[in-house]
Structures are given as C-alpha cells and as structure tokens.
C-alpha cells in the first residue's frame, strides 16, 4: 500500500494552470524525487501535498485517508513534515529552541502551560539526539539566524524530523549551497532515509544528488507529468533528455 | 414618521459621505504605504481651522478652495520629515508616531483657536431650506453631498486616468515591480500621502460648516472611518466608499428607532462583516 497517493491533482491560479492532472504514489520508506525546469510546478505540487493551499481538483490521500481538505497542522499530526525552498526557521531563537518547539509539538505538549521535570528531561534528551544527528551539537546555543546556510538548512531538516514524520517533503534542500555543503546535506538525507526508513519526496535541481539518492524520479514540465520511473529508466528516456537533461547539461 | 425617517436617512447619507471622504484618504495611505494614519482626524481639524482663519480674507469660497491644498502641503511636509523614516519598519512604529501627532494636532488647535466651538459661517443662501415640507433639506446639505460626490469622482478619475493615479494603483498591488520600472517610490508615497490629506482637509472644511468647529472634530470622525474601511473591504477603495455610506445610513436610521445605539450599530455591522466575510464586502483575496 502506498503512504502518499495523489490522484489527478490540478491547481490553477486564474488562467495559469500551475499543476495539471498530476498523479503520484509513494510507498513507505521510498525516496521519490521530483525534477523539472523552473516553473514546472514542482513547488506548487509540494504545496498541494503539504496543505499550503487546496487543489482546484483532484484528491490527496495519506496513509489511506483523504487529506485533501485538511489544514497543514492536521497533516503534520498525521505524520507529514516539510521544509521550504527558502529556509524557514526561527532566526532569533537558538538551535536548541528551534528544535525544542517541534519536539514538544510532537510530544503533544503544545497547549501545556507547564511541564513536569521528568518530561522536560525527556524533551531535552530528544533535542540533543536531534542535534547530534544533524551535526549541530556544538552550535546548540547560537542564534540560528547567525549560522551558515548549510547549518540553517540542517536545522530546518532536523526540525521537520523532530515531528517524527513518516513522510518528509524536502523542497530543494541543496539550493544555493557550495559543494561541501551540498555533500553534507546529501549525506544527511541518505542517512535519515536508510537508518529510519523514512519516506521522502525530494525536489532537487542537482542531478548528482538526484541520481545518488532516489528510488524513483518523476519529471514535471509545464505542470504535467512528463515521465515517472526508476533513475535508470529516466536516464534512458529520450523525452526527458530532450526536454530537461539536455538543457541543463 | 416617514418624514422623520427621510430626515435621518438623509442625515445618515451626509454623515456617511464624511466617513467615506475621510476613510478614502486613510485607505489610500494604508494601501500604498502600510501606515495607519492616526493623525488623519488631526489633519481634518487643521483643514477646518485653516479655512476658518482664511475666511475673513478670502471668503467662504476662497477658503474652501485654498484650505485643502494647504492642509495637503502640510501633510507632504510631515510625511517627508517624519513618516518616511518608518517605512519598512514594523507598522507599530508609524501607528505610534501618528498617534502622537494626533495628540499634538489636537492640543495645538486648542492652544491657537481655543477649546470652545468657533462660529464657522457659510454663505446665507446655502442655509435656507429648499422646500417647506422637507425642512432639513438645506442648500448647504445638498451642496455638501454634491461636493463630496465630485471629490470622489475626481479621486477615481485621478486614480484611473492619470499617470500618477495609475502608478499609485500599481504600487498598491506590487510596490517592488513599480520601483524596478523606474518609478520613484519615495515621491510616489509622498504625493499619495498628500492626496489622502487633501481629502481630509476638504472633509474638514465641509464638516465645520455643518457640525461647528472645535478641536475634537477630527477625533470623533476617525473611528467610523476605520470601521468604514473594514466593512468595505481591506485594500479596496470602492469598498471604502461603500462602507462609509453604509455605516452612515445605518446609524442615521438607527437614530430613529433606537437612538442610544446610534454609534454602536456600525460596530455591530463590522462584527457581522468580519464573521461572514473577513475580507470585507469588496475586499480582495490575499489582502489580510
């Protein structure tokens, strides 16, 4: 059974159809990449999955349940987490505080006006664990706004992970990064994917990253699905080469 | 009874026209610059006092013509000196600044012209009732409604047909694009502020002729103008116009049946609108 199933999703803004009749199915633990030229509708597609806005038509199922009309926070509760193309963090809070907020939300504490000492210790331990995973432990008390681009991105990914998702949506995690940072983030994603058998949908421009990580690749152009298959199939697909790979290489 | 209703309906329309004139100016500034101009009522009062001061020299008509321009000029200066520094900062600061200005304007008006109401004399032929049966229909009231209508028409003409107006409208929608197209945004905001204050000044002269003139004249009109903007729809000037007229007429009618709720009724309307259409009657999507 698939964890995420998108059926014929369409989203129009006025006369512009940004996503046009796109279907996708992601099995638990798989890494699905979404690629395509700029303006192909990748981020709009992500916004439909994560609930930023509803589709004009079509359905979205998560874990077998229809989530088409649900708000973002409700999808998070069900086990869906996302990051943004332009890193979205809490810049004036420390790394520790940034991570602490989603950890507490995931522990169902968001409305608690106080917590017990034992609970606080558990939260702290989980925050430390996440910082270790993201190689952020030595920056725990720095303001996130002051960190490097790569560390900010790592913080954002760990914040999503703090929610204990079953599906992680990553929107161009290596955008605007140097080689070393790209390498670090790619390694982090692969580690999370392998160790926690987490299902991931990944939008990416960097072909090295894509072919290194993905189980399946979907190609979007002008809001439509051009091809969907394994990395080998996509690499061999002539239409894809003509429409996309040819241009960017 | 029907005459009483007609009287209050017409009264409401006049009051609504004031609210609309005031609210249109506020709306212009809010939409382009993101500033809630709390001093708008203060500018209104200044416009009226300037007219009052000029009248012995240039007469009613001269004052009516000159005072709004002088008020607008004052607005342009204050925008340049003070308000401009706060663009792009948290709207909290411009709100507090104009709030302080409102205090200063009111107090300065009181210092110069006194706390008591001063006589604001309009030409005699305008104060006579136009007909015996409709005693309330004085020439001045009709004249006011006509003048407000002309002012509003002129405003929409400027916004839709002139270069300045089209730039203001474009800037309201997407300031960044307008500035990359080579429009000087600072000048645009400055002139736009002046335009808004011109309307306040005009409203001031007209209001003084009807309600008499005291330093608090502006403060009593500013809250309804906020309500007019919210009811009519955030970001929409036609909405603001509609909102002003609606709440004016509604409070006019309420006076007939339930006088003590005259002011409250517009807030009830605001509550209903927010409940049913949070964006306001003609509000645009995405402008919350």
């Amino acid at each position: 059974m698939s964890l995420l199933r998108v059926e014929n999703a369409t989203r129009a803004f006025g006369s512009l159809v940004a996503v046009n009749d796109v279907s996708l199915s992601v099995a638990p633990g798989k890494l699905q990449a979404v690629i395509g030229p700029n303006g192909a509708g990748k981020t709009t597609f992500f916004n439909l999955i994560s609930g930023f806005f509803p589709p004009t038509s079509g359905k979205i199922y998560f874990d077998g349940k229809d989530v088409t009309g649900l708000a973002p926070h409700q999808r998070v509760q069900m086990g869906m987490a996302r990051t943004f193309q332009i890193t979205e963090i809490f810049p004036e809070l420390t790394v520790r505080q940034n991570l602490r907020i989603p950890v507490e939300v995931a522990a169902g504490l968001r409305l608690r006006p106080w917590i017990s000492r034992r609970m606080r210790d558990e939260i702290d331990a989980r925050v430390v664990e996440l910082m270790l995973q993201g190689n952020l432990e030595d920056k725990a008390n720095r303001l996130v706004g002051e960190l490097s681009h790569g560390d900010q991105r790592a913080t954002e990914i760990m914040m999503a992970l703090a929610l204990k998702p079953r599906l992680l949506l990553l929107d161009e995690p290596t955008a605007g990064m140097g080689d070393q940072e790209t390498y670090d983030i790619t390694r982090l994603i692969r580690k999370l994917h392998r160790e926690q058998s987490l299902a991931i949908v990944l939008i990416e421009h960097d072909m090295r990253v894509i072919f290194h990580l993905a189980d399946r690749i979907m190609v979007l152009t002008e809001g439509r699905v051009l091809a969907d298959g394994t990395p080998d199939e996509i690499a061999a697909d002539e239409r894809v080469q003509a429409a996309y790979l040819g241009e960017s290489h | 009874m029907s005459q009483l209703i007609l009287f209050n309906l017409f009264n409401g329309l006049i009051v609504g026209a004031f609210y609309a004139l005031m609210a249109l100016g506020l709306s212009l500034i809010l939409n382009l610059s993101g500033v809630i101009n709390f001093a708008h009522g203060g500018f209104l009062a200044l416009g009226a006092y300037i007219a009052y001061t000029l009248m012995p020299y240039v007469g009613f008509w001269g004052a009516l013509l000159i005072a709004p321009f002088l008020t607008a000029f004052l607005g342009i200066i204050i925008e340049r000196l003070l308000i401009r520094r706060l663009y792009g900062r948290d709207p909290l600061y411009s709100l507090l600044l104009t709030f302080g200005l409102a205090y200063i304007f009111e107090d300065v008006s009181r210092y110069i012209w006194g706390a008591q109401s001063v006589p604001f004399i309009v030409p005699g032929f305008l104060t006579k009732p136009l007909s015996n049966s409709l005693f309330f229909l004085t020439g001045y009231r009709v004249f006011m409604v006509v003048l407000v209508a002309i002012a509003v028409a002129a405003l929409f003409y400027i916004l839709n047909r002139t270069r300045l107006g089209m730039r203001i409208r474009a800037g309201t929608m997407d300031l960044e694009t307008v500035s990359t197209l080579g429009v000087n945004v600072r000048v645009l905001r400055n002139l736009n502020f002046g335009l808004g204050i011109f309307l306040a000044g005009l409203a001031g002269v007209l209001a003084a002729g009807l309600l008499g003139l005291q330093p608090t004249i502006g403060t009593s009109l500013i809250m309804p103008s906020f309500v007019a903007i919210i009811v009519g729809g955030l970001g929409s000037l036609p909405g603001t116009l509609l909102g002003g007229l609606l709440i004016g007429v509604a409070s006019g009618l309420t006076t007939v049946f339930f006088p003590s709720a005259t002011e409250a009724v517009m807030y009830v309307m605001m509550g209903l609108v927010l409940l049913l259409r949070p964006r306001g009657l003609l509000g645009e999507e995405g402008r919350l």
């Binding site: 708000a71 973002p72 926070h73 998070v76 509760q77 987490a81 996302r82 943004f84 979205e88 963090i89 809490f90 810049p91 809070l93 505080q97 602490r100 907020i101 989603p102 507490e104 939300v105 995931a106 968001r110 409305l111 608690r112 006006p113 106080w114 917590i115 914040m159 929610l163 | 993101g34 500033v35 809630i36 003070l82 706060l86 900062r89 709207p91 909290l92 600061y93 411009s94 709100l95 507090l96 600044l97 709030f99 302080g100 200005l101 205090y103 200063i104 107090d107 300065v108 809250m223 906020f226 919210i230 003590s260 002011e263 409250a264 807030y267 605001m270 509550g271 927010l274 949070p278 919350l288």
Partner: protein
C-alpha cells in the same frame, strides 16, 4: 527570557517594588502614584504578552481594561460589597468579551489586526458613554468605595490605608506576573514565540496558529482586565476614558518605551510614563502636546526601548 541573570533580575525587581512607597517621594511621587505604576505596568505587561511575545499588535486593550474596571465598580455598587468578588467578575467580563472579539479577528494580520482591535475597543466606550442609567455615562461610576478584605480571622482595611492597598496591588501584580512568566516559559509559550518569529513555519510544525493566537489574545486581555479592576479600585471611580483608544495607545507606548522583547520592559516603561505624565499634567495645561511629542521622540530615537538599549549595549 532565560539566562544566568534572570533570577537575580527578578529578585531585584521584587525588592525595588516592595520598597517603592518609601522612596517614591524623593522622585516627586506619593503612594497612590506608586500604586498607579503597578496597575499600568500590569496592563502594559499583559499587552506585551501579545505584542512582544506573540508578535501581534493590539491597539484596543483599553476596552478590556475598562471592562474590568466597570465590572468591579458595578458589583460593589449594585450587587455585593465585596472587593474579591468584584475583581473576579471584572476579569470574567473582560475575558468573555475578549473571547468573542478574538474569535472575530484572529484571521487578520498586521496593520489590519491593529485597526480592527482599535475599532472594536470603541464599542464598549460607546456603551459606557450612552448607557447612562447603569454606567453613569460621561460622568462615570461614582459613590462606591473599595471594600475591606475579609480573611476570616481578620479584616484588612484597604480604603483608608494607601500603603495597605499598595501591598494588596503588589501581591496581585506579582502573582499575575509570575503566571505570565510561567506561561511564556512553557511549551505553549514557546509556540507563541514560534508564531512571532515565523508564522508560516509554525503552521508547518503542526501548530494551529489561529487557535494559539486566540488563546494568547484571551490570556492577554484577561490580565489586562485584572489591571483594570485594580485601576477602578485605586480611584474608587471609573469612567469611559478608561475604555478610550487613547488609553490603549498609552499601554502600547509603555511597552515600547520599556522594551517589548524583555519581560520587565513594560514595567520600566509604565514607571517612566506614569511619573512623567503626573509631573507634566500638574504643571501645564498642554500636557497632550508633551505626551504626543514623547510618542514621536520614542518612535524616532528609542524604538528598542530602555531595556532593549541596555541589552544591546551589554552584548556589544
């Protein structure tokens, strides 16, 4: 919020407040003025719960302040001569009003939120102003006095002992401040910081933003109406001016003047504002110009507030 100096700062604040009536005269004050500082500080701190720690500007908090005041005054005047009952009812009235209005406005943001809070604040002003027979209209509610506290084993006289009343207010002030600080340091408080910092992100971390904003608004208004009850008790009087938008503006300027980002900032701002206003209004008729000028100068030269400046300087 947290930090090595936090505990000693709190101790210092308590010490200063506990001794305030004894040194107030040396800065030109008197006991009632000290009490007024506490009352205004509580109002400004409650506003700052929303402004500084949730990132939402309400310009209509005077409404809840005034509702609290009218609540306590009407209970004592018409229903039962009990100070605690009056306070409870006053807070309840303000809180219920905030629940209803909050539900109508939480979808709005930024300047629009501010504008709607201003406008809604005026509803209660007009009710108090117009409903003469019950509220006393423009003249306000007079001919009632704060009542002695009956603690069972003893009675605490509040009326004729300005100093006793000061400590009564101080006790409530400290309890309220402790409550707000606890909430801000809780998981719920951190969700408010998250909303302040980046609302969209908060949403995608699973926080139902509207619901949390509504709660924050209601909590803030509840404490503001508590301040309003104390204000009415202090003066044995309440009138529509307590509900007026000018009062709301004063709360905001106190919070900004002291420093929005620090917990005790509004206390500092309230102290400066109240003492200065008392000083100016006793010397000139044109105090409005001075207050207005004060607003303008703070915005232009002091936007971070006193504590914000100190903190910035010490971190450099």
């Amino acid at each position: 919020m947290k930090g090595p100096g936090q505990r000693s700062t709190n101790a210092l604040v308590v010490l200063i407040l506990a001794t305030m009536p004894f040194w107030m005269q040396y800065v030109g004050g008197y006991t009632e003025l000290a009490t007024q500082v506490l009352v205004m500080a509580l109002a400004a701190m409650s506003l700052n719960f929303l402004l500084g720690f949730t990132g939402t500007l309400s310009f209509g908090h005077a409404a809840y302040f005034g509702l609290g005041g009218y609540g306590v005054a009407m209970i004592i005047k018409y229903i039962a001569p009990s100070t605690p009952l009056g306070i409870l009812v006053g807070v309840a009235v303000g809180t219920i009003a905030a629940m209803v209005i909050g539900a109508l406005i939480i979808k709005l943001r930024g300047v629009y939120f501010a504008m709607v809070t201003i406008a809604f604040g005026q509803v209660f002003f007009f009710i108090a102003f117009r409903w003469n027979s019950v509220t006393g209209g423009d003249d306000g509610l007079t001919n009632w006095k704060r009542q002695a506290l009956d603690l069972g084993f003893t009675r605490v006289e509040l009326l004729d002992h300005a100093l006793t009343f000061y400590y009564f207010v101080l006790l409530i002030f400290l309890l309220a401040a402790a409550c707000m600080a606890l909430i801000l340091r809780s998981p719920f408080g951190r969700t408010l910081l998250a909303i302040r910092e980046n609302e969209r992100k908060a949403r995608f971390l699973g926080i139902p933003v509207e619901h949390h904003l509504w709660l924050s608004f209601v909590i803030s208004c509840a404490f503001c109406s508590l301040a309003g009850t104390l204000y009415a008790l202090l003066n044995n009087f309440i009138d529509p001016r307590a509900l007026y938008w000018g009062q709301s503006g004063n709360f905001v300027i106190m919070a900004v003047l002291g420093g929005m980002r620090s917990f005790w900032g509004p206390l500092v701002g309230a102290a400066i504002f109240v003492v200065l206003q008392d000083f100016i209004s006793s010397r000139t008729e044109n105090w409005m110009s001075f207050v207005g000028l004060f607003f303008v100068l703070i915005v232009l030269f002091f936007p971070r507030g006193v504590l914000g400046m100190i903190r910035r300087r010490s971190s450099q």
